[in-house]
Symmetry: D2
Subunit: 406 residues, 4 copies
């Protein structure tokens, strides 16, 4: 019956002019990194509900992440967070990852949980705090070199809660100075991915509040600095795919932190609340993959796709698998857009036809396609089902409660 | 010089037709309750920055609250939170408050920090959890009776994070059943103040998401149930003063949780980000105080004014004093609106004149008025300055770090 | 090939436990009313771009609407707007509709375009204006009786632009008085559908600003008054499906004005920007259709589904067809939710399973189902294609530019 | 009595360490431009309520604007809009302005009301439309030269309503090409002020959607291109003063379009809904006026302050006067901030003290200061009162209804 379904699917897509060979290649090359902290306990400011079986250390986090890759086949790396994942021996951690068939991905400095950072880290008016913060950034670059990571993901909680609390413009200069020093320490193949956030934990102003501030900073720093888009870090209503298209056009789209939100930075399972939005984001990326400008294509081919979520209520590993398959599903749908037909309708200024061509691809059920791709990759057809049928979930219960949290 | 200022002020207000005697009476009868948890450590989901000198128990929280009343003169009661403020002997706690010249105010149940409440408290699909939650509510009513509190403030974190997670309509019925049971246990003079919240910690749906849901619940329960407005619990752009006017007209405005926000439920110092909004809220209340309908006047005279804030960066006691004086300042300004002139302009449909009459009162500097009122009340002219000059702030440092938190 | 597709679809849904017979019945009974004004020219405050072929009068609007019904089969009625659709002889208009195979649906009074309503209609401080407005409402009830309409849709632009401009509470009373008078004039089978709106054209306060105000008004008026939900009339982030579920539970959901928005009240093609939201709304309705409470079922079976959109850039008739099929598509998907499985997962508090059951239905491509239904109804398999292949679009070009607008 | 008030005020400010001489100088040099279209009829998409006495042509608009300047003393120029203000003889128009004691200010092209611009002007996929749009921009530069205007204000309605409707990145390139051509035509002293807008009239994507897009465009174009901030063009919650500080630091803040909003782009009287926000914006500017960096000071001294509002309900000239005095009032308050004390508190990381210093200035009633300044400028102490007492308002009634509108 799956065969019949795929046969129908294939016939339909061919009839629509879609080259499934290319679609499958693209799907096989998609990689979505999971964050080590996503396997630990998390919560809201009101309560962290501890789960049983949470990894007790970074080694166990990698083990859980390896499960996600085992069942999805497209999640071969894990972002780490320093100091949460600070270990005595990073070679050993790296080796552990490799033994598990995965790798360590982006390195994330933490500049928001030390008491010294109460009034800012690299924007603190106290030069000693800025020094400390910068040293931490440099340390993270060194760690990245040790574990062969290309990317340093930079999110700064820095900001203020009240009008007048701090000198906004001075903080801007301090931030630049610190990041410029960090930039110097990067190897040629390394990248700084500069995130921004509309608000939280700062409630009046956030030093890097929007893509424009991250983008301008990246431009000042140099070609190794790019912008990181967290899908939950925008004002309500923001057209995120427009920002993505814009950054691709400027060749500065470094990567994504995927997650879903309905309100603020809710950090829920990717695409769980407005799947069309993520599809439309991939639509912009898919057009860039075939752009005339080789630099735009280069950017589109080097986007770091990462999850950054908190699964406060749901079990961690399945939630991660769901997120990965959601991302994959929406990418698959975007790959089914007939871009030539869209282009034709756009040239004709036929609004309804252009919109229809895009939406039509979203409405396709890509289950048979994904199952075919997974089969070709030697991955279970239904990653979630396969994981739930394994006994890994039970096995880790022996870890008990009170594992790692952030 | 203060005298000269007051003389000018008095002359001006008389010229505007304002009866300062009435204004002062109103100001003297204003009472703003502070929350016991506002004296403890708090933070965001990212970090709680611990402060030195935080009260280590409920008795010390009352002591700090007594300081706020000592310097402001209008904060004679303290809301408590169960179980945070659960003590062996509530008579003793009550006595401690009275010894400090204050009283225990509203009782706040906590139905969001027990592991059992992960999927809801009084809306949980598990009847045993609902029973437990209802029992906690009944316990809080008993505590209220023990400490002579009139009001039970009810905020429910209950909600869901994902579409389909729960049966929204069943939860609505369960909530009613539990609250109806609680309602039966109230003495005749007691009130349930039912809060609502747009989102957080629930990120898909919140069982009591807006004033309409709280209001409808209150109506179903009976006359002892009223609506509690937390100024930070609305969607962006919401006209809060409209809701306040509406509830006053329905005689169901139970009280306020004051705080300030720019983004979500930021819980900052009251009126620190948009003081005009709080002024306009008081403008609606001030019109109700002189309404033709005695029931509306009765409601306006029985509003429970309470703070509900987290001072994550700033010292607790001064932040509370600032909040109290901010509320007092904006109430004072609202009392200076010449309602007759507003009414006249409204009748004439003279938009600019009507708006001007309201705004003009906001623009008045009420410092001399507040100083005069404080002098008449035997309170320092500048509460903040007086507190900072006292050595209380130093004295409590001996408590060290690691005091109470939520 | 369509047959093969349907065969696969049928087999899959049967395997999922879905009774396609019931699904089809439900789909056949869906009716979505289009608005007469949606066939006229419209625009933003900046510009109305006139289109060629716009109907020049109400008779021609009905003719266009009949085309939408001809190709979709589920749009057999047309809402009219008074005075835009005021004709000398309503019997003749009614007959014209019937001759076209359609009927006149809801009657919409207009209380926002007369100079007298500058400062409000039924909330105007001038009693003469309120009288005039109420008379217009009564006139609309009479028209509804003449054209055999059950529903009067009530949207009020009434509100203010500035703090202090008007007495919010008095306006609330005036509104009630006027609507109570109107209520008396209704026949027993008639309904008042009371709409609300967050803002626009009033920019400070809107007299009926949210569902709670409409709901409370409906309750005060009586059982013939219900709430009308316009999907574009909420603050950003609002969980509309929660409101829908709430109103169903209260048996007061009168109907919908469908349209899509990303920002404010954008009035775009239904479901064009976040199709999942409309699906989740139908999910709530679908659960109500099988509720234990017969009154809830009765409400769910008597919802007035209506479009209320402005097609500023796109041609009117195709935009309406697209909207109708979008609504139909999302309703079809919601009908494919296995409610028993959702219920089971909800009882188990299995968040991921419950969410999955709901989302899975959304991901189904319902094209074969809709084509089968249309075939059984004697309607073209692809309504849009069939319309575009007809020469109606060309024929109406003879009307020229400068047709009806609002 | 005014004298006594001023004496108290002066004494207080001196005690606070404020140099009133400098404050007054700054106040006297403030200039706020009014827009010619602000004197014409306007409305929402639902209705334009026509007023009596609206100017019938550009000459009469200038006459009304001259009244605003006559009574405020700080509004000596008028922005014009082409083609609304297109006249046969711009020398004559310029002469008329000069005869009235005012001047023509910024020139605003209109690229949103021609049928050709339905799908975009300088981002239209049709090269002929882009040519036409660019020619209009060049024409406006020529007009600016004719009337001795320094600034061309550029707002583009360009955008799309539906996903897929157009190629976002291509439109970005087309826009650059057109603006680069326009840039070449500027004289050395001229400036392009590039506005941005979150949404409306485009409801899916707006080509220049935020400050970052305008800023990046300005940087690409060259030093004569700067960013224009319209205070109503941001997502809810946006920290506008942060953007202002940022642009000042980048020396790219070209100017402001002032107006007030609670919801979307409501275009109401400046500062009527959240006066603190405008005060905080001026606070950022005031710090820039005394910055160590001469380029920042230069930018702060060359900001084009302009109103851009629609007075839909209220009479035009008084609404403009109110807006001007609101802006003046908030600027005056910002000038009373003791920046040294703020700086000291910021260095001490004393959040409450820093916030207090800023807010304290806001709470000062600047009426005596403004009256003193006006007296020194030979302007009526109360501009609104003086205007209302004049008979200009009556005189223009002879113009009747049906004047200019947009």
């Amino acid at each position: 019956m799956m065969d019949k379904w795929y046969a129908v699917f294939e016939q339909q897509q061919q009839a629509r002019g879609i080259d499934l060979r290319i679609v499958k290649e693209n799907l096989k090359s998609l990689k979505v990194e999971t964050p080590s902290w996503g396997y630990g306990d998390s919560g809201t400011r009101f309560k962290v509900f501890q789960q049983e079986g949470i990894p007790r250390n970074s080694y166990e986090k990698l083990e859980d992440a390896a499960q996600v890759h085992k069942y999805t086949g497209i999640s071969p790396s894990v972002a780490i967070h320093i100091p949460w994942d600070k270990v005595d021996n990073f070679s050993s951690l790296k080796q552990h990852a490799e033994d598990l068939g995965i790798a360590i991905g982006a390195v994330n400095p933490n500049l928001f949980q030390d008491d010294d950072y109460k009034f800012g880290s690299i924007t603190n008016s106290d030069a000693a705090v800025r020094r400390k913060a910068t040293d931490h950034l440099l340390e993270c670059v060194e760690i990245a070199k040790m574990v062969d990571s290309r990317d340093i993901s930079l999110w700064f909680a820095d900001g203020t809660n009240y009008p007048g609390q701090a000198d906004i413009r001075k903080r801007k200069h301090w931030m630049y100075e610190c990041l410029a020093e960090m930039y110097q320490s990067l190897d040629d193949n390394m990248r700084m991915l500069i995130e921004y956030k509309f608000f939280e934990p700062a409630f009046y102003h956030t030093d890097l509040a929007d893509w424009g501030m991250s983008f301008n900073m990246a431009q000042k720093l140099g070609a190794k600095a790019e912008v990181l888009v967290d899908t939950g870090h925008h004002p309500q209503g923001t057209n995120i795919e427009h920002i993505v298209a814009y950054l691709l056009d400027e060749k500065r789209l470094g990567g994504f932190h995927f997650n879903s939100r309905k309100y603020a930075d809710d950090d829920l399972i990717a695409a769980a609340h407005n799947p069309y939005e993520l599809f439309l984001t991939f639509y912009q990326i898919v057009t860039a993959l075939v752009d005339d400008d080789p630099e735009v294509r280069h950017n589109a081919n080097n986007i770091a796709y990462m999850l950054d979520q908190c699964h406060n209520l749901e079990p961690k590993i399945p939630a991660m698998i769901r997120s990965i398959t959601n991302v994959q599903t929406l990418y698959a749908k975007a790959l089914l857009i007939n871009l030539d037909k869209v282009k034709k309708a756009q040239q004709d200024q036929d609004v309804l036809a252009a919109e229809h061509e895009v939406r039509k691809a979203f409405e396709v059920d890509v289950t048979p396609l994904l199952q075919a791709v997974r089969e070709e990759m030697g991955i279970p057809a239904d990653p979630m089902e396969a994981y739930l049928e394994s006994d890994y979930g039970n096995k880790i219960l022996s870890r008990g409660k009170g594992g790692a949290s952030w």
